[in-house]
Structures are given as C-alpha cells and as structure tokens.
C-alpha cells in the first residue's frame, strides 16, 4: 500500500475494517463476479485466506459490503414538497462521470448479473433503502412508488455511468435536472389523476 509497507500493527478490528473497505471498493468497481478475493486482500494489505477467515466466504463478504454500502443515506430530504427537485439535483450531481466512484447504485448495477448477489441485494434494499424512501412518500401505495423512484435512480445511474451513453453523459445538467424532477414529481402523488 504505502511506500514503506511496514507490516501493519496487529489489530483484528482494524484489519477487518480495511478488508471491508477494500471489498466495497472492488465490488463497486468490478461487480461481484469481476472482483476476486485475492484482489480485495491485496488492496487491504493482507492475504486472501485472511479474508475468508474473517468473513467466512466471498458471498458473506459481499453481503456485508452491500449492507455497509446501502446503509449510508444517499439523499436526505425533509420537506416532501421539495423532494423531487432535491432528489433530481442530487442524482444529476452524483451521476456525473467525474463524481466519486463509490456508491451503492454502482455496486448494485455491476453485481446484478450474479443470481446470488441479486438475492443479497434485494434483501439489503428492503432493509435499508426501500424503507427509507417509503417514509418520504405519502399515500397508500407509497411502497411501490418508492421502488419506482428507486428504479428511475438506478436506471439513470446505469445509462449515465455504467454504460456511459453519450446523450446522457453530455447532456446539460440543468435541463437533465428539470426532466428528472418532473419524473419524480409524477411519482410523488399518491394516485395519478384519472382526468
């Protein structure tokens, strides 16, 4: 790691934390299948076996990495009326290709191909993100509208960062924010007007 890689002081908690951080980084960048245990171990400055010794298996390591990554509150909005604009602004800002590369949505999108990883993430969503977002919405079908908002967020992250589609990466942020604000607004109302 550092230039003078003196063997880190023996501290189980700190080492475990270093491995978990490295795992989040690796899984977010390369996905569940693309990240190897040896790679995670090397980034944490330890051996591959120590990873399994602390976390049991790659699958359990992934589960804990997902849980940690999803636990961090991505967007906090207090006023329900201002939520669409705030959410849209945050989404546009954070999906900027030059933005910070560590976030739960990238981890999710790049690991969705593996069935076991998908299960783990579904449970984590129900445990963290879904519940948090549902609380911000009002109405009887808040749960499903919250997951629709989640779908939109994930979809934008997919196209803009993972696939890096030209029209979205090069779009004007202000106009993009307007569009997305309208989309989220449409999902904020309990039931669409059957005019």
């Amino acid at each position: 790691m550092s230039v003078t890689d003196q063997p880190r002081r023996r501290d189980a908690a700190a080492t475990r934390e270093a491995i978990l951080r490295a795992a989040i980084e690796a899984f977010t960048r390369a996905g569940y299948d693309g990240a190897g245990v040896r790679e995670v171990a090397a980034a944490a400055g330890v051996t591959a076996m120590l990873v399994n010794r602390y976390f049991g298996s790659k699958e359990q390591l992934f589960a804990e990495a997902v849980d940690r990554s999803f636990a961090a509150p991505t967007v906090v909005g207090a006023d329900p009326a201002a939520l669409p604009a705030q959410l849209a602004a945050a989404l546009v800002a954070r999906t900027d290709p030059a933005s910070e590369p560590l976030n739960p949505y990238l981890l999710m999108l790049r690991s969705a191909g593996n069935p076991r990883a998908a299960e783990i993430m579904r449970e984590a969503i129900g445990r963290h993100v879904g519940r948090r977002l549902t609380g911000l919405l009002t109405g009887p079908d808040a749960g499903e509208r919250a997951e629709l908002v989640l779908s939109v967020i994930a979809g934008v992250w997919l196209m803009r960062d993972v696939l890096a589609t030209p029209a979205l990466t090069g779009a004007d942020p202000g106009r993009l924010k307007e569009h997305l604000s309208g989309v989220i607004q449409a999902l904020s109302r309990p039931s669409p007007d059957p005019a």
Copy 2:
C-alpha cells in the same frame, strides 16, 4: 438436445444460427461473465471450439448476440400522443415475472458488470434502440429524453425482474401502468414548464 440426438445435418449457416440463439439465451439468463462458451456450445449441440471458429472469440460472440437481441423492436408506437400509455402498458406486461425470459433489457442488465460488455452494449444501443426511440419523441433535446425513457425502462426491469423486489413484483399492474404512464408523459414534453 432432442431425445434422439442424431448428429445434425452439416449446415454452416444453420449451425451458426443455433449457436447464436443459444448464446442469446445464455447471456440473457446468466450475463456475460456467468455464461460460459462450453455452456453455449452444449446448448447448440456442438463443441466449444466451434463457437470460437465461427465467432472468433467469446467477446465477438457476445457482440453479435447483443446486436441481434437489440435489433428486435420491443415496442412500436405510432401515435406520439398515445405513446406514454402504450409504452407503460407494454413495460408492465413484459416485466411480469411470468413473462417470456428473453429480451434485450435482461441481457443488458445482467451483463453490465463487465466493462468490455458495457462498451459493446453502449454501441449497440446507439445503433438500434436509442435511434428508434429518439424518432418517437419531438423537440430539440429528444435524444437525451429518449435515453431517460430508456433509463426508466431499464430501471423497472432491474427492480422487477432481476432483483425481484417484493413491492414491485406484487404491485397491481393497472396502478403500476398509471404511474409509469405519468412518468413517461413527463419525459415526452420537450421542456418542462418553468411555471
């Protein structure tokens, strides 16, 4: 494959087609990393080497599978005014877990983790889907709004089929269609009203 697996009559075109079909199925079900060349070959009733002999490499096979999968027009809408409702209805119907398991969005979502696969799919989107959807929208920023619609579609497919989130899989189809129709409607207008 069949019970009496008599060695298929030697026909280069037919064999190539069988391999390509098997590849689309495998890549859609397991993603780029999850599907192996031997698995594809076995499903087509041939040897792994023949796959590479016809397609050069796994990567080129994937590129051709993506191109074929994306070329099939998923939703055809003629009337721009009715487009949101039609698109929403088709999306809700086709993302039903009991629906047909072969479609470009699943292929895309489950392969997005691999960087090379992501590049290939980005090009294929620009070549097929993006252009097709852009033609259905009007206004100066039709391109970026088309990709936002694509983002919504992909996001719903991700949550409803790949992750199989409970609130979306169990949601009432009619109400879901209403919500999504409103979302797409918001993206159909050239520029949101700065009221």
